[in-house]
Symmetry: C2
Subunit: 348 residues, 2 copies
DNA sequence: GGCCGTTCTGAAATCGATTTCAGGATTATT
DNA sequence: AATAATCCTGAAATCGATTTCAGAACGGCC
């Protein structure tokens, strides 16, 4: 691989001049510039990012840690982060940390040793050491998707409370009166926030969410399948359920169908995220869209801003959720449309 | 961030000694070793991978280029490659190249400049420049999933012909006599191979695949939905269809259901890959499993072997496919089970 | 002509590690 | 006790870039 030294030799100039031509930050005589550029083409020179990164203290690398690769919603964060990062001539190193704080710590440590320019991560739990580790360095970081208790850390999150509100409003508008909610792990703050938004909104409109109709899940599809029977066998069986992510919602849908019932006729189901699978199942899944792209971009932008400023920005960026109505929600069998519109008035 | 120099100063030794303690490749006196290790703990020293990579010519980085991030089958390759790579203390840089040869070239160029230790890529098309670019360097690479015409390049692929064979055998065993196939883009070699395997096997058993029942798709879900009507309106309507990946298969399933027909009663459907969505849809999708994990590991191993040997290994590793029977395939309505077993004898 | 200010260029230091080379200290061998 | 062999350590070169510093060349101005 040709180095700047080779280019300099061929062009008959010093390496400093070659560097100047390449980085075009200092005036260089036109004749020398052409000479150097010719030499660059001739030996097919490519700047070595390891070397330039070492000296200039920027390896043009960003690290991204997600709880699990292959989980469609995290993959969306990966996709959009990669696109945005690479559009700015950075590279993206990813790590799937298997929902394990130790694995997370190990990966973060790896990124620090690699002297990356910034780290974005989706925390696996509140008691991860990642924040302490990172605060001991000067590396910019941003917490994505799961802001949680760490109000001090720079973060980009969805408006989780509002997502619950959107779900509740939609289901009430359809005329439902008996609701259920399948949450994510309640040790994850966003699960609690979503639940509050859902429950508060129902209450405010005179409806309510019975304790017996709140089921704690773990965000996984299989969990949704299992919980379907609990849902259907509940003392006060709900006519509409909101699952706090699409995987579980689709799992519930599958479980309901497996038991010979129909969606949305017998049970309206909605989720959160709007992953691709929502449009692949029948009926298509009504959901609350998480804006993966804008969240990813906001996270990278925040990172870059921290880098420029040379210090942490303890800012929480909260992006709005959006209701996406498809086929898996409908008015309940027992409820007339007219009484539904009554409720609409109450909550608006 | 503390450097080796700091450690050396505190321990009262030279940086060379510190390096030797860390890399433990040369004997160091026990007393000095302890001294150095204490100093390392004291300043919380972490080796700078940029610097060590520059000098030792190994940045402990692997690059992975996939046609599109967020596509579930490619995400499986990402997942398992990342796991395996990181288990060996390497990092993984990924790039989603949007099925665009230019984007691919740009990303590969980026990886070369970054002086990665190896590159794995899933080619977007036969006329990508990636191979030429890489052959002009000494960087080890492996072509994953799409070996294609480049018999010269190191590659890890599934036995695509065999996957077609498995699909054909399964459908014939169920008693089907009228088949259809939805292929991927026929400019992608593996689509042709899969089709040959399917068609050849049918013919060998006295069945056949009519030209009018071969539909060229593009591996996308929406495409499957669209093709469903073509399938159902074909002159000789098939009772079983094999789509060359799961996304299209699930699309066909959705399209069939949308038209008021039922799977597998009215049409048996199977796919390829065994992505997570196969178990999320109802009926669950019968498919031919692509062994993502073993393929990813084989690719990284091959890469490491190339690195050790210091030269390319033009070896094609072909891993077997595996039939996974679920609910989306069943005997045809018009066909009795007894005549089905007759066919089984013919092909076994 | 002499002085000053631009504009451009090169030598050398630097980033933080690894590695070679040479020499000092220690032990083994006779 | 002298010599050889072994073990350990430090100085310095190196990887391939960036950046500082100083000086050369050139033009303008009085």
């Amino acid at each position: 691989m040709a180095s700047m030294k080779d280019v300099a030799r061929i062009a008959g100039v010093s390496v400093s001049t070659v560097s100047r031509v390449i980085n075009r930050n200092v005036p260089v005589n036109d004749k020398t510039r052409i000479l150097v550029n010719d030499a660059i083409d001739q030996v097919n020179y490519r700047r070595n990012l390891l070397a330039s990164g070492l000296r200039s203290k920027s390896g043009s690398l960003i690290g991204l840690a997600v709880p699990e690769i292959g989980n469609e919603s995290f993959d969306m964060f990966i996709k959009y982060t990669e696109e945005y990062v690479r559009a700015h001539s950075y590279g993206l190193i990813i790590g799937g940390i298997h929902n394990d704080p130790d694995d997370e710590a190990e990966f973060i440590d790896h990124l620090i040793r690699r002297a990356v320019d910034g780290i974005i991560f989706i925390r696996v739990s509140d008691d991860s050491h990642a924040l302490e580790m990172l605060n001991a360095t000067t590396i910019p970081y941003v917490v994505l998707d799961r802001g949680g208790s760490s109000a001090i850390a720079p973060a980009v999150v969805m408006d989780n409370y509002h997502s619950g509100r959107l779900a509740a409003q939609h289901l009430m508008q359809l005329g439902h009166r008996e609701f259920a909610c399948v949450t994510g792990g309640l040790n994850v703050p966003l699960s609690r926030e979503r639940l509050s938004g859902f429950s508060d909104t129902l209450k405010a409109a005179g409806c309510s969410l019975r304790d017996g109709n709140i089921f704690e899940g773990d965000f996984e599809f299989e969990n949704g399948v299992e919980l379907a029977s609990s849902l259907l066998n509940a003392k006060h069986r709900a006519t509409a359920v909101w699952a706090q992510n699409d995987s579980m919602a689709i799992g519930i849908m599958a479980g309901v169908v497996d038991r010979g019932l129909r969606v949305p006729t017998d049970l309206s189901i909605m989720g959160v995220d709007d992953i691709g699978a929502c449009r692949m199942v029948r009926p298509e899944l009504t959901t609350v869209r998480q804006p993966f792209q804008s969240m990813s971009e906001a996270a990278v932008k925040l990172l870059f801003r921290e880098r420029e400023l040379g210090k942490r920005i303890s800012e929480h960026i909260v992006v709005p959720a959006e209701l996406v109505i498809r086929q898996s929600t409908a008015p309940p069998l027992s409820q007339s449309v007219s009484s539904a519109s009554q409720i609409v008035k109450e909550i608006s």
